[in-house]
Amino acid sequence: MQILQYVINGIALGSVYALISTGFSLIFNVLKFSNFSHGALMTFSAFTGYFVAAANGWGLVPTILAAAATGSLVALAGEFVAFRRILIRNTSPIYFFVSSITLGTLFEGIVVLQVGANFYNYPRFFGKPLKLAGLVISQSDIIIFCISAFVLVVLALVIQKTRLGRALRSVSFDRDTASLMGIDVTRSIQFAFIISGALAGLAGVFLGINYTLYPTLGSLVVKGFIASVIGGLGSLPGAVIGAMLLGIVETTLISTIGSGYAPVFTFLIMLVFLLVRPRGIAGSNIQEKA
């Protein structure tokens, strides 16, 4: 029963990691670089959601929507400021990487300037936990899991079934050919940033609810990165699978070898994946990793 409880805790943890890794993978898929401003964007959006919710006494759903909208808008602006010219000039992917770190530092700096380096706590949105056959499942875990699953399913449908999604897939496969086929590449990339930003906002709120809000909250993007590597950089289903696995592995390691050693083994697992199966569980073999 204890093991099942750890699996449940792991899935709950993994569902938030899945939001991070999906947003992360989406940009990697399209522009072939690891967008390390994603973490700071999560923080920025989560703080916006917090202040809007606190000022208006909003519940969970409007807070999420506000954070997601903020994430989308800021990601769109970030794309224009930090990545557009690099894309147009078709320069090395390393510049995307450097630009993303700079952008992340800017976002985090704005947050620190606005709120200080202190921590904040979201209002309590959830009631008592559910107890089933000796298992305890917190309401927050259930709701966060359901919302994450719903959002990821909708995202999968959008990418698979809509014109915008098909265009995005074409751009991620080959930008030049997609452009020759009449697809507006810039619009597709903007679409990817909007979705990625919304996912960052959503993940930021969930992380804030679970772990309080603080300016370096975005450092948890590393977990999304590990999940992406395990799942296969650039693969959206892989990102979700990797996130779930990471959540379960983390909780199992914490319960068996303790909290101190768990991160060591988590990173070892990532290194093993990079060594044995560089394309991850479901990813294609991408050579231009930045």
Binding site: V136, S138, T251, G258
Partner: protein, 377 residues
């Protein structure tokens, strides 16, 4: 060329004379606190208390006619930042004494460094390793003005045992000196007095998700969980243990003092904590009301600690001036200083107070309720 050299020399002399004159009129006091970072709620409150006392002292004519110039340094709860700030205080700003830091990890880093200077550091770090060297003698410049970790943990354990708790779980941060220093004496006191510690789990400062760590404690069906951690971690642990359905009590250290109740975001029933002040005392109430009226903030225990230490420092300066050795000797001789945090007597052998009282509290909803007063022997 000679003219230029003469001019530079004159300017240098003028600057020195002006600085000396300025130094002669004021006494620089450093306030080394966590103004930002995860323990900023403690550092800001301590700073506000020191500033309040300094304003009162200066308004009353200063110390022997000299105004106190308070220089605030932000450690950002970071050891490197703290050491840099300390070095700046003693080398550039020539402070006569330093109030702070509020937390043990920072004080532990500064303690060996402080041996190279003579500036006294009057702080609140309760881990005795911050004041006492491995050879058992005190660091010459490190002082603490609240009961030690061993004293506080003993009070909490005795209170818990006396009030019907007998089976405990413990969760503490193995990378945090404050947390580590509290758990051992708590466990020792519980086991020595017939209680049981069913489960002890540790975590690191990087941990944010405590549910898996807390699960064995919840499964052990303990009466209470001892949670000697900083406020942010305390909030996470309290929220997550409640999310796991645990309805027992939490025994917490000073970090569950207000503003924990406002930061927690929900009712704090079942949370017990230790405090330096008793809000039912007339002088404490008067100060709380004055601070609220003037600044709009609700002063907490760290405010009172800062206030008391600043006033003790004033008394020392009045008696022995600002000579560092004199200040140290006088700090070691502080006896029965009637402060808002109690009657403070410093033990010269430990540079920590002896016999200072502390108060156990709980919350009803979000309102702190005083339970019992203990002498920290």
């Amino acid at each position: 060329m000679k003219k230029v050299l003469s001019l530079i020399l004159m300017l240098a002399m003028l600057t020195s004379v002006t600085a000396a004159l300025a130094e002669g009129e004021t006494i620089n006091v450093g306030c080394l606190q966590d103004i930002s970072g995860p323990t900023s709620s403690l550092g800001n409150m301590a700073t506000a208390g020191v500033q309040w006392a300094v304003d009162e002292i200066n308004a009353a004519g200063g110390v022997n006619g000299k105004m106190i110039n308070l220089i605030v340094y932000d450690t950002k709860a970071d050891v490197t930042e703290a050491i840099n700030a300390y070095t700046r205080a003693v080398t550039s700003d020539n402070v006569s004494a330093i109030v702070g830091p509020p937390i043990a990890n920072i004080a532990l880093a500064i303690a060996p460094e402080s041996e190279n200077n003579d500036v006294q550091i009057l702080g609140f770090a309760i881990d005795s390793k911050c004041q006492i060297k491995p050879d058992g003698t005190p660091y010459k410049n490190m002082f603490d003005f609240q009961p030690s970790a061993a004293q506080q943990a003993t009070i909490m354990a005795k209170y818990a045992l006396k009030n019907g708790f007998s089976k405990f779980g413990v969760i503490y941060n193995e990378g945090n000196a404050y947390s580590v220093s509290l758990q051992a004496p708590f466990i020792d006191t519980v086991t020595a007095n017939g209680g049981e510690v069913a489960k002890v789990v540790t975590y690191t400062s990087n941990d944010k998700d405590f549910k898996t760590l807390l699960q064995p404690i919840v499964s052990a069906d303990v009466d209470a969980v001892f949670v000697p951690n900083y406020t942010q971690e305390l909030i996470l642990i309290a929220q997550q243990i409640r999310a796991l359905g645990y309805e027992g009590s939490l025994i917490c250290g000073l970090d569950a003092c207000p503003p924990f109740n406002t930061l927690f975001g929900e009712d704090c029933d079942g949370i017990y904590f230790i405090n330096n002040i008793d809000g039912t005392e007339a002088n404490v109430q008067a100060m709380l009301a004055a601070v609220k009226e003037k600044t709009g903030i609700d002063a907490t225990n760290k405010f009172f600690l800062g206030y008391d230490v600043a006033n003790i420092l004033k008394g020392i300066f009045e008696t022995v001036g600002t000579n560092p050795v004199g200040v140290r000797n006088a700090a070691e001789q502080v006896t029965n200083y009637a402060g808002l945090t109690g009657n403070i007597t410093i033990d010269p052998a430990t540079h920590m107070p002896k016999g200072l009282e502390m108060v156990m509290f709980t919350y009803q909803g979000t309102t702190p309720v005083m339970l019992e007063r203990y002498s920290a022997e």
